[in-house]
Every structure is written in C-alpha cells, then in structure tokens.
Subunit: 421 residues, 2 copies
C-alpha cells in the first residue's frame, strides 16, 4: 500500500482541549510514517479542504506539536459550515474529492460534534458513491457533551471543571458580602439544548445549603413563580442565593428566556442575555441586590484550569482515530467507555458513525432533582470523575505559554478555485 | 503593658487574596503572644464590631488559618458600611469604643480599600477624641488598585492575572472561529473609576496585532464613532476584534454606558451591562457576529489562578500591620514599595493614613496610548511583575480545597444591643 496523506480538520465551536486531539492525530501519524504520509490540516476547518487551503503540519517541530497539548482554541482554525446532502450539494463533495485526489489524501479525520459526525459520515460514503477510496474517522469534540455512544465528550470535562470552580469561588464571594450587599448571584453558562454544563456547577456543592442553590436546565420548563419563590426561600434560609443558568433555559412553550425582549428593572431594553433577564426578575419581584456574570467563551477557552482527565481523553481519541485508520476502518468514531468499577476508569471504544450522526444525547431526567433545580447523586457520580486532575499549562512571565503554529500552506495543485459562499 | 486583644475586619468587596492578609495578621499575632492577646474578627466586617458579633479566631487550628492563604472571599464576612464623621454619627463611634473596651481591644486592623482607610483613620483618632487608647492600622486591599502611596494594592495582581489570561484564551477562541462565525468579542471587567483592571488585559498581547485590540478605560471619554471605526478596521485587518471594557466606561459628560440607576451604600453607582450595550452597537452599525462575557465576581474570586506575587504581598501587609502595632504605631498603612532595579523587587513600607484616606490613585495618562485604546510600554513595565507566579491552591476531587472556618462567636459582654440600620 502506498503511503497516503491524511487530512485533519477542526469543526464547530472550539474547546480548550481540541488541540490535544490534534496532537494525538499528528503524533500518532508521525509515529507511523511507514503507513501514513503527511497530515494536512484544513485552514478554518472543512473550508480549507474545499478551497484547497491546506496547512502542512509536517513543517511544525515536534515540540510545537507537543505544545498543542496545552493550547486552547483551534490551532488550524475552525468553522461552522455543514455540508448538505450529496443530492443537494454535489459540487462541494466533488470538490472535496478533487482536492483529496490532488493531495493524495486517503484519510479524513474530522474533529467536531454532532453536525461534524454527520459530515464525516457523508464523506465516508463518498468512497462508494464517487469511487474514491477514503477512510473517514470522526474525532469527538464538544463542550455540549451531547454525542451518543460515548460516555462523555472531550472538551466537556474542562468546561465542567471551570464552571464548578467558578461557581464555588463566586459563591464564596457572595457569601462574604450578603449581610449588607449582594444577595443573589447569577452565572450564565453555555448549553442551548442540554443542561450538562449547568449540571456540572452542581459539583461545587458538597453539603446541604452549599451553592449553587438553583440550577436552571433547558430540560426543565422555566416557571417564574416557582423560581422566585425558591430564590426568596434560599435568601431567607442562607442569606444569599447562587443561581447557575443554562443559556438555553426556556419557558414551557419552548421560547428562550434570553430571547424574551423584556425590559430590565430600569426600563432599559434587554440587550440579550439570560443572566440580566433573571437579575431583573429578581430585582423587580424581590428587590434583592444582585450581581451576574456571563462566562461565554471564557468557559470553553479556559485551558489554564483544564481537567487532566479531559486532556488525556482528548489526546486518546486523536491517537485512536489514526490507529483505526491504520487498521483499515471507515465511518467510525473512537469513543470513551467508562469502566464498571467504583474507581473511575476509562478506555477507548469504537462507535459506528451512522449511529452517532444526528443523534443528540440529552441529560437523563434522573440526573435532575424532582424539583427541577438541582442534580441528583447519579448525576454527581457521572460528572465527578470528568473534572479530575489539573492539567496546568507552562507559564512564562505570568501568562500561559500557548503555541502559535506556523501554519504554512501546502502549495496548491489545482488551477480551479472554489469559494465557499 | 498588659496583653490587649486585636480586632480584625474585612471591608468592602472581597478579593481572592484578602484572606492571605488575614492569615498574615493572625499568624503574626500568634507568633507574638507575649504582646498581643487574641485576634477577634468582626463578623461581616465593622458591623460585627458595632453589633458585638465577634469571632474568636483563637478557636481555629493553625492549619485552618494557614489554609486562608489559598482561600478566596472574606473568611469572616465583609460589609459595605461606611462610618460617617464623628460629628454625624457619634453613636456608632461610641458603640465601637464600648465594644472594644468590653473586649480589651487595643489594636484595630482594618482590611480594605479607600473608604476603609478613611474609616480606619477616623477610628485612630478616637484614641484622642474619646480618650480610649487604640492603635488603628489599615491593611490595604482592593482589586481597583487605586490606593495612593503604595506601588500596588493586594488583590489587584490576581485580578490582573485572571483578566490577562482570560483575554488571551478567549481571543484565541475567537481567532479560530472568525473566518465563518464570531468576529467581535467583548469582555467586560471591573473598574469603576480607574482602568487598572482593563489595562491588565493588555498584558495578553505580546506583539502588534495581538488581542486585546481595543481597551476601553473610564479615564478616556467614550467616542462611539471612533470606537466603531476602530472595530471595523481591526476586523478588516486581523479578521477579528477583541475588546476589553472597564465597567466604568463613560461618555464625555461622565454618564456611564452601563449605568443601571441604583446606588450602593457608599453612593457608588451599581454598574453592569456594558458588554451587551457595546455588542448591540457593533451589531447595529457593523453587523458583525459577536460574543460577550461579563466576568463580574468570577474575576475577583478566581483564587484558582491567583498571582503568587499578589498572595505574597497580601500576606506581607497583614504581617507588617501587626509588626507596626507592636512597634507602637497608629494611623498607618503598610504599603508596597517597588525596588528601582530592572529585576522586580518589592518590600514593605509605611504610609501615614491621613495621606491615604479619600485619595484615589488614577492611572497615569502616560499608561494609555495616545489613541486611548491601549496600554503603553511604561504601563506594561508597571503591570507585568504583578501577575508573576501561579499560586495554585490544593485540589481534592478536582475542586480547590478552600477552607471554611468555624467562626465561633466570642460571648457577648454588653447588655445593650446595637443594630446597624
């Protein structure tokens, strides 16, 4: 078998550990030079393939590639571009094959979430449909933790850790101040459809009365009255109330609170943001002094406090993807399998892509307390191991030493240009 | 001299290292048992003194006190309560003396910012006015970095580090996504009157073009047109734009972009909501996809990534305060003096409280670039050493092991009750 090159691309929202998966792919390919040629990365994800804008990762030093282990964001650029079906956009698929053929690409490693798994599956099918031999392996990544078949998704554990730590820290701050000042603190976290991230904040609490006192999940219809009653009861009992809210918190009719177009306590139009909306409610109805924070990108970029477990798993799925490719597999995804023992163990398993694509893993209802405001013991058992270990990056002059790759382009071979609109 | 007890209280907004100062005070007092009796802490700050709600720190183990070094927030509770002048509220001062006399308190250690320095000065003057011997020492603390005479303020370095790291991390995230998605990211940070915290974000940039591309300071009148033109130029040049904005960003007429209309006990405006305001401007005028984050309490509670320099200095000012007291000083504040050499060094100095109280140290105009959107080399030289070193807390099960003291009350001695309204 001639040595064919590999294509690697990052897709969708990036995480603090997606580059650890890139490191796993590239280092493992380098360790198997007899089987795999160069790893060519798509600049800005799949768009790089379509536009023949490829990055030659072989021009990066071993130490630069190793430094990806401690570097957040997408080192080659990512994108939000979903390939339509072959019927709807044959031109894009044909272009992909044209580029792959020109650069002797035989392996397609796609590092992303649910949409990307779908794209990866479609690409794997090209092999048959367009008569071009290609093995497509999906490398799981999503802070949303919503991919099926895998116990958890690389990227999630580090956000979970960040959110749990930040909740604990901010809660202690509020507890110090509540006698005369702030009584309610609201932290808005990511999670549009599933409450996994908000749930992780629950790990901050160790005993009854600890913050967070209220978690708002997209899975539980928001009930303003019940929410405000709970806030009030909490402030009366504990002196303060810490709320962690999923950005996807919604009313029973499915409308997001953050899209509500309401006005704040002072008549100003709400400019978006669930946290200020909730804060205005608390202020209007209960009159408590509040503070709110919106973590936004900070939470998914916080490599400075990444979970070691997450970093290890992110690397492992990248490594396994290359090993699967070498073993001749196609249309699969390395997944994380949890051991059955009391002590947390995990190993890499294999999931067929057709069972991954377009399936969203929701949080089980049994992970949410009956009242809808907290997490249960099974949720805690599931979440706790994912935040284990502190994978500190190196520092220089007080700041993390994150790598910026050279990202040198592979010379174009095709005369035809292609622009992704 | 009979051994008199010490009173220690935390005041105003807490920080991630104020407890390191508490540790410095308590450990140093314990090491001088022949000179100082017990350290009695005010529960919820000065209110604890007024209401005779004192905490007996001698009931805490040495290891619990040591654990304060790595615990954010105010371990004894803080408050926002400013004592008026002696003429305006003689009752409160007389009550203080009554409580101090009942508990044989001869030393008053007040750990706070500018307003607290003023209170501390007033208390120091009681000694004369009300004929009660008392030494009052102010222990500097404020994330705002706005106390005069000290090179910097304990609490600031850690916020600076958090903000610089978060800016770098989030910027890398945006840079990965900007080809097809988010182009503008706005991080709102604290800083009502002085732009020290926002300035610290500038440390994230190492070379031309690095984020943050725009810093908004309270010191520079906000010019909507100029701001939007700069955002647009930045996106055109770099593909994305990262903005770090002080909550105190204001128009030329002094009105805050984010003023929510409420005032705290000190009469300060409660701010928040600047980031969404700026985001709406960007969206309306330029149409770029944006994300925004508001760090709020997360930034000042982030002990998980505190600056080692800051922790060391916070401890040192607490220690020095007790040493000053033993040396018979009154109405002083230990301050931080920077060495003159090229390599950063610091030592503890002494500042008279009457020169500290009610003086706000603004950022020199020379620290802000001529265009008003960035920091200069002198600012960088000043700020860089303050974020040096990573003072990681211990972890257990993936979360920082922060201490919760027992905070046992000192039995009341006075029959008269006093309620702070």
């Amino acid at each position: 078998m001639s040595r064919r090159n590999a294509f690697y691309a990052q897709s969708g929202g990036v995480t603090s550990v997606i580059n650890a998966s890139a490191c796993g792919v590239i280092e493992t390919a380098r360790a198997n030079r007899d089987r795999i040629g160069k790893v060519l990365a798509g600049r800005n994800g799949i768009i790089g393939a379509l536009e023949e804008d490829l990055i030659d990762t072989s021009r990066e030093s071993a130490s630069a590639i190793r430094a990806l282990m401690q570097t957040p964001s997408g080192a080659f650029g990512s994108c939000r571009h979903k390939l339509k079906s072959l019927e709807d956009n044959r031109a894009e698929y044909e272009r992909l094959i044209e580029v792959f053929r020109a650069h002797n690409i035989g392996y397609f490693f796609y590092n992303g979430g649910g949409d990307s798994a779908d794209t990866c599956l479609k690409v794997s099918q090209l092999s048959h449909t367009l008569g071009y031999p290609l093995q497509a392996i999906h490398v799981p990544k999503t802070i949303d933790n919503d991919l099926p078949l895998t116990d958890n998704c690389p990227g999630f554990g580090s956000v979970a850790k960040y959110v749990a730590i930040s909740t604990r820290e901010a809660a202690m701050d509020v507890a110090s101040m509540c006698a005369t000042s702030t009584k309610v603190f609201i932290l808005e976290v990511m999670g549009r459809h599933a409450g996994w991230i908000a749930a992780a904040a629950g790990l901050a609490a160790e005993k009854e009365g600890d913050a967070p006192h209220i978690i708002l999940f997209p899975e539980i219809a928001f009930d303003r009255k019940k929410f405000l009653a709970r806030v009030q009861r909490c402030v009366k009992r504990h002196g303060y109330c810490v709320i962690v809210a999923s950005e996807g918190t919604q009313y029973a009719d499915g409308s997001f609170l953050s899209d509500s177009g309401t006005r704040d306590a002072f008549g100003h139009a709400q400019l978006g943001g669930l946290a200020p909306t909730l804060a205005a409610m608390v202020k209007d109805e209960l009159g408590y002094k509040y503070h709110w924070a919106v973590a936004d990108y900070l939470q998914r970029a916080a490599r400075h406090i990444a979970s070691q477990t997450d970093v290890d798993q992110a690397y492992a799925v990248g490594k396994a993807a290359v090993e699967f490719a070498i073993a001749g597999k196609n249309a699969v995804m390395p997944c994380i399998e949890r051991g059955r023992g009391k002590r947390y163990t995990w190993r890499i398993g294999e999931a067929p892509l057709e069972k991954v694509a377009n399936v969203e893993k929701m949080m089980p209802r049994s992970f949410i307390t009956r009242d809808g405001f907290g997490i249960t013991a099974p949720a805690r058992d599931y979440l706790a191991p994912l935040i284990l270990g502190e994978a500190y990056p190196e520092y220089r002059a007080g700041l993390p030493r994150y790598v910026q790759l050279k990202n040198l382009p592979v010379p174009r071979k095709l005369r035809k240009r292609f622009r992704v609109s």
